[in-house]
């Protein structure tokens, strides 16, 4: 059973077709990387999966349950959308940590406010500490975001997303806002998650990283999936001329 199936997703902004016809499947425990040039629709796809945008056409199916169907025009309640969102986590390019909370508080906030989370505050805190520890931030838990480096902030953001135990964790260019010497620490953490078979979708420009950690690569171009397959197939031996151009342009 596929953990996620996306069928014929289409999205238009002001007469620009950003997603033209996106369909793919992924299995539980897989790491899927989406590559492609800027403007190819990668970020919009992630935003549709997280209900930050609503696709115009298509379906999003998680564990055989249709969570989104553009053909179903009945108005969805906010509670329903929040329920759907719980299947996904999203790590932003620009971290978006809450500045008035410490690293630990950032990770604890959503579980504490979630009415369906039956754990005690002590348990939530315990879990948050473990996650931050896993991110290599055990000595940074009580720091505020502005006291942390970009790489540390992004690792807090990853812990914050993991605290809600999403089925599928999405990364939107997680290292693009970082200085080159800080990308390594974030990629290392994501690599660690891949080794633990966390189901992930990673939009990235880090080609060698994508090749190393991904079970599957999708190459997007101009709103379409032009090619998908294993890293060996897509990155090392691309079939399409456009994919070859892109990969040679990026240089591994």
């Amino acid at each position: 059973m596929a953990i996620l199936e996306v069928r014929n997703l289409k999205k238009t902004f002001d007469h620009t077709n950003v997603l033209k016809d996106i369909s793919f499947k992924m299995e539980e425990g897989e790491a899927l990387s989406i590559i492609g040039s800027s403007g190819s629709g990668k970020t919009t796809l992630l935003r549709c999966l997280n209900w930050l945008e609503t696709a115009d056409e298509g379906q999003i199916i998680v564990r055989d349950k249709v969570l989104f169907d553009a053909a179903d025009t009945s108005k969805k309640s906010d509670a329903q959308i929040r329920e759907n969102r719980r299947h996904f986590g999203l790590v932003f390019q620009s971290f978006n940590l809450f500045p008035q909370y410490t690293a630990l508080e950032n990770v604890m906030l959503a579980p504490k406010l979630n009415a369906e989370d039956t754990r005690s505050v002590a348990e939530i805190e315990q879990n948050a500490r473990e996650l931050l520890d896993q991110m290599g931030l055990s000595n940074r838990m009580d720091n505020y975001p502005h006291q942390l480096s970009g790489g540390q902030q992004q690792r807090v953001a990853i812990a914050r997303a993991l605290a809600l135990h999403p089925d599928i964790l999405c990364f939107d260019e997680p290292t693009s806002a970082l200085d080159p010497e800080l990308t390594g620490e974030v990629l290392k953490v994501i690599r660690g998650l891949a080794e633990k078979n966390t189901t992930m979708i990673i939009v990235t420009h880090e080609m060698s990283f994508a090749r190393d950690v991904s079970d599957k690569i999708i190459f997007m171009d101009d709103g379409y999936i032009l090619e998908q397959g294993t890293p060996q197939e897509v990155i090392d031996n691309p079939k399409e001329e456009r994919t070859r151009q892109f990969i040679n342009g990026i240089k591994i």
Partner: protein
């Protein structure tokens, strides 16, 4: 003489303080309502509110005081403010509340719109409700951003209250000036300045403290 002047100025300053406090109590929340209205998508709500803000901010407060106090009596032939000094005081409060609410609304709007959209989106993807996002994420960030302009406006209000004398609200400067006629002395006017300086000094310390308390995050 000093005690006579002091007592008289204290009485005037009581009036000044009352006008100041009532203006804040009503205009701070009213400003929030106006700012929410001015950010509505629907032009039916937004445009009239933006128009009112434009008129109120674009004309002198002194003119507004005169129109609000004398307008109803002359146009409707009815004194809606009541007789005597209490009627004039109520009219002054109404004019000040309307004027300051419009200024505050623009400060609120700036503060709310300056919160990066990523903060809302981060709250949304974490499954928080709109209310939770407002109370737990954006509110404190907005407050931190608007404290400096709000404190500026509030210190201006301390001094603006003196305008109420144009409709004969006997605030502190009116009381001080009375001694020029009655006793031929000017120093009570300087004395009123001391009241303003001390009061705005206290407010400056208060807002400095609040700013400092909120400086733990950026």
């Amino acid at each position: 003489m000093f005690w006579t002047v002091t007592l008289s100025l204290l009485k005037g300053f009581g009036e000044t303080l009352a006008l100041f406090s009532l203006t804040l109590i009503f205009s701070l929340p009213l400003g929030l309502l106006i700012s929410l209205g001015s950010m509505r998508k629907s032009p039916i709500v937004r445009m009239p509110i933006r128009f009112i803000i434009w008129v109120v901010r674009g004309t002198p407060l002194m003119l507004q005081l005169l129109v609000i106090y004398y307008g109803p009596g002359i146009i409707l032939h009815q004194n809606i403010w009541g007789m005597g000094s209490s009627g004039r005081f109520i009219a002054a409060v109404v004019a000040f509340v309307l004027n300051y609410a419009c200024y505050f609304s623009e400060i609120y709007r700036g503060g709310i719109q300056s919160i990066p959209v990523g903060q809302y989106e981060a709250g949304q993807v974490l499954g928080l409700t709109r209310k939770q996002i407002f109370w737990n994420i954006t509110l404190l960030q907005v407050i931190k951003r608007i404290i400096p302009p709000i404190s500026n406006e509030i210190i201006t209000l301390v001094k603006d209250t003196s305008l109420a004398r144009v409709i004969a609200v006997y605030e502190i400067i009116w009381e001080g000036q009375a001694f020029i006629k009655s006793a031929g002395i000017i120093w009570p006017l300087f004395y009123t300045g001391a009241f303003y300086l001390i009061f705005s000094g206290l407010l400056t310390i208060l807002f400095g403290y609040i700013e400092k308390r909120l400086s733990y995050f950026k």
